[in-house]
């Protein structure tokens, strides 16, 4: 029997290697039509057959076609603009699962704890009440500060579903096109930041578990709330090269004060052509000004 190190060497050689580590480098896309949560009408159905997957892909691509006009003015204006601005996935994940969430088995995000529900409701109520008071009332995404699918964790969205991984001897770098965020993740075994240092994107540390890169993120500020998570979020991401042109990306959300149990999702990530263009997100002092100016115009009308 061959010693373990021989097998490890074969595995590294097969995947290529960077500084003796499995090679995850490249520009990757996580675009897919498979939803994070299993839709209600697919309850109890974990996977599609090949035919069902093809039919579902067709249905979702058609539903997402922004060239189709809305049924009324509200629906139409909400669709924003033509389809050529969007760059969504067109295929279901290769496993043909009906949700990206693999645990729990129902493919749904577990219920929020009562205190998290209360917090989310308060935030929503505050947002509704103060939505047009000033820029502070608009979301971090609208303000180009953070984007809800840019992560961590990273999820597919309507466009710019691309990220680049660069490996050095002691660090791995993940550049996400959306919203031009870069994580520089130490692999040197150093501890997380002190618990009183809190960041919007948390503090990520990485290590290798065999051929899998494991990235552990804590120290979230809670001011960026991923699906209702709070500052106690402990996120574990796993990146595994499964073929020359594919990664398996998994993440587990563990936040006992926000979710009633941990949950895990898996996304197939495929190599894509570069380069990643600088996103340089800024509303150009148009859209946010328009939103607030529109609200002021409505205020004036109400006074007449």
């Amino acid at each position: 029997m061959k010693p373990a190190w021989v097998l490890v060497t074969f595995a590294l050689a097969a995947a290529g290697a960077v500084n003796g580590q499995p090679d995850l480098e490249g520009i990757w896309s996580n675009a897919t039509i498979t939803p994070l949560e299993r839709p209600a009408d697919l309850a109890g159905k974990q996977t599609f057959t090949a035919e069902e997957a093809a039919a579902y892909e067709k249905k979702v691509v058609d539903r997402n076609n922004a060239d189709r006009r809305g049924a009324n003015g509200d629906a139409d204006v909400a669709t924003a603009y033509n389809n050529f601005w969007y760059d969504r996935g067109t295929k279901a994940v290769g496993t043909r699962r009906t949700s990206l969430i693999v645990d729990p088995a129902d493919g749904r995000i577990p219920p929020l704890t009562p205190e998290a529900q209360k917090r989310v409701q308060e935030t929503r109520a505050w947002m509704q009440e103060h939505a047009t008071d000033g820029p502070e009332g608009r979301s971090l995404g609208e303000r180009c500060l953070l984007w809800a699918t840019a992560g961590p964790p990273m999820l597919p969205g309507p466009y710019n579903n691309n990220f680049q991984i660069i490996q050095t001897r002691g660090r791995v770098v993940i550049l996400n096109e959306m919203i031009h965020e870069t994580r520089i993740i130490p692999l040197d075994g150093s501890p997380h930041l002190a618990s009183n240092i809190r960041q919007w994107m948390g503090d990520s540390r990485g290590h290798w578990d065999g051929n899998t890169l494991v990235v552990d993120t804590t120290n979230f500020s809670g001011q960026y709330s991923f699906r209702g998570a709070d500052r106690n979020l402990h996120l574990t991401e796993r990146f595994t090269r499964v073929s020359p042109d594919a990664l398996l990306y998994e993440f587990t959300v563990d936040d006992p004060t926000a979710f009633t149990k941990p949950w895990t999702a898996q996304i197939a990530v495929t190599r894509t052509k570069g380069p990643i263009f600088e996103y340089a997100c800024h509303e150009g002092n148009y859209a946010l000004t328009d939103i607030l100016a529109g609200a002021r115009a409505a205020d004036k009308k109400a006074l007449k």
């Binding site: 308060e122 969205g157 699906r227 209702g228 939103i291």
Partner: protein, 141 residues
């Protein structure tokens, strides 16, 4: 002055929108907050410039009025990165190009609208396929 609580609440919203994101389409910001669904507007104009700003490009057009005067409008679109990835460049929509814009006027009643449906006068979509206006073929994914 805002209390600490409201400041915190104001920030805690980036991921919350996703909680209710069953909607099939999803622009960068809420277009319903910027544009008035009761003010549909359709214009035939000439491109004067295009601002390649993320997350929303703006196309500037001049529209001739029946009395011979000209009114300038700004039309909001989506992310230029998507266009770049598909092989389009700043030269793809040169000044002088005639376009038809069907959308909704901004709520502040300035001369801004969303490009809900932008076409060439003959009905072809912009930035699609290889036909006309220097539009290269969509790059392979």
């Amino acid at each position: 002055m805002r209390s600490k609580l409201t400041s915190k609440l104001a920030l805690a919203v980036a991921g919350l929108g996703l909680l209710a994101s069953a909607a099939p389409v999803w622009a960068h910001h809420a277009f319903a907050a910027e544009f008035d669904s009761t003010k549909p507007i359709k214009l035939h104009g000439t491109v004067t410039k295009m601002e390649w700003i993320n997350p929303h490009a703006w196309i500037h057009i001049d529209v001739k009025n029946p009395d011979g005067t000209v009114t300038s409008w700004m039309v909001e679109g989506g992310s230029p990165n998507t266009l770049l990835r598909n092989g389009f460049t700043k030269a793809s929509l040169p000044p002088g190009t005639e376009i038809v814009v069907d959308g909704y006027q901004s709520k502040d009643e300035s001369n801004k609208m969303n490009g809900r449906d932008i076409t060439f006068p003959d009905g072809r979509k912009l930035f699609v396929g290889s036909a006309g206006q220097g539009s290269p073929e969509k790059s392979e994914k």
